[in-house]
């Protein structure tokens, strides 16, 4: 086993602990405030929009503003994802970008 299996960078640890803290807070906040805080209407719709909005934001630069190979591969991934499980569709997308980068 290489020694760096147990490497623990202080900044990385702080980030992990920060992620853990905010995640625990939202897990328990919903449970403990039930009855007082029942997200409905616009707030519920907003909360439900967060995951697709964040995911779309993360892929936008690569899918829309990097190059034709990446944009085409992104479109192929979306088409594949309508029919196939996530990992299969993602594999098709990654294969497509490798091939398209060689061609385009």
């Amino acid at each position: 086993m290489p020694a760096d299996v147990f490497a623990l960078d202080p900044a990385n640890l702080a980030t992990i602990l920060g992620m853990a803290a905010v995640t625990l807070i939202v897990r328990f906040a919903g449970y403990l405030t039930v009855g007082r805080l029942q997200p409905r209407g616009r707030l519920a719709a907003a909360l439900e929009s967060v995951p697709p909005a964040v995911l779309t934001s993360l892929v936008a630069p690569m899918a829309l503003a990097t190059g034709p190979a990446e944009s085409l591969a992104a479109a192929l991934t979306v088409l594949a994802a309508w029919r196939l499980p996530v990992l299969a569709a993602a594999a098709i997308g990654v294969g497509a970008v490798v091939l398209l980068r060689m061609v385009l």
Partner: protein
């Protein structure tokens, strides 16, 4: 508790059987997350700690995607908070069904529920014989453990790949996240948040420094979801079904 003591083992077995297909489905993602984390320079120990302490897959993929040197700690923690905000709704939905359980079991379930164990538990509570400590133990503990174990294994082996770009590894996040967006797609009401996020994030990427484009896109998409009357109506209709179910 009103159960016969012997039923703990039987309940635990049933919980394990109910979660098992979903557990098998999660393992490849644990391995993939570990491999991607290795490419970002995270050690297997750091990967294992993250998966054990955060235990929220979507937010971890996003965090690893944003990981850099120096690590943008505030941006990653803020993104984690935004993505995991849906647990507010999930915890609130569980609360009415946990009344008869011992306090430790209740808090444990809230602390380590994932989308999978949340859905299976809620189904058992609303359409089955209800939740017991045995059922939750058999469902939660194996599902919890596979995540850090798979992450560490993926991280050890992912660290052995030396030239990831040749295999299109820089596109793995893009491909996976696109698939997840397709999976979250709920028909026409999903279009405004996704379109607003795409436009705002692309503009932010072109004209703003660092990872601010993520927040600009997330904000635009979330606002679009909140302001679209059809989307609000659809959420209300779904909520009504869950409560009635």
């Amino acid at each position: 508790m009103t159960q016969h003591p012997a039923s703990f083992a039987a309940d635990a077995r049933q919980g394990f059987i109910d979660i098992f297909p979903l557990l098998l489905g999660a393992i490849p993602f644990a391995l993939l997350l570990g491999a991607l984390a290795a490419q970002k320079g995270l050690s297997p120990l750091e990967m294992g700690l993250m998966s054990a302490l955060v235990f929220a897959g979507g937010s971890q993929f996003i965090a690893v995607d944003m990981w850099a040197s120096p690590v943008p700690i505030l941006a990653i923690v803020a993104a984690t908070l935004m993505v995991n905000a849906r647990h507010l709704l999930m915890g609130a939905a569980l609360a009415p069904h946990l009344g008869g359980l011992p306090r430790g079991v209740r808090l444990g379930y809230i602390a380590i529920h994932a989308d999978e164990t949340w859905a299976v538990g809620l189904k058992r509570a609303t359409r089955g014989p209800g939740l017991t400590p045995g059922y939750l133990a058999g469902m939660l503990i194996p599902f919890y453990l596979q995540w850090p174990i798979g992450g560490v294994i993926g991280c050890v082996f992912g660290g052995l790949v030396t030239d990831p770009a040749r295999f299109g590894a820089d596109f793995v996040f893009t491909a996976m996240f696109l698939c997840l967006v397709v999976g979250l797609w709920r028909g026409r009401t999903s279009a405004p948040p996704v379109a607003a996020a795409a436009v705002a994030a692309t503009l932010g990427y072109l004209y703003l420094p660092g990872v601010w484009y993520v927040f600009l896109g997330a904000l635009a998409g979330t606002l679009a979801g909140a302001l679209d009357p059809a989307g609000v109506k659809a959420v209300a209709a779904r909520e009504g079904r869950v409560h009635a179910g």
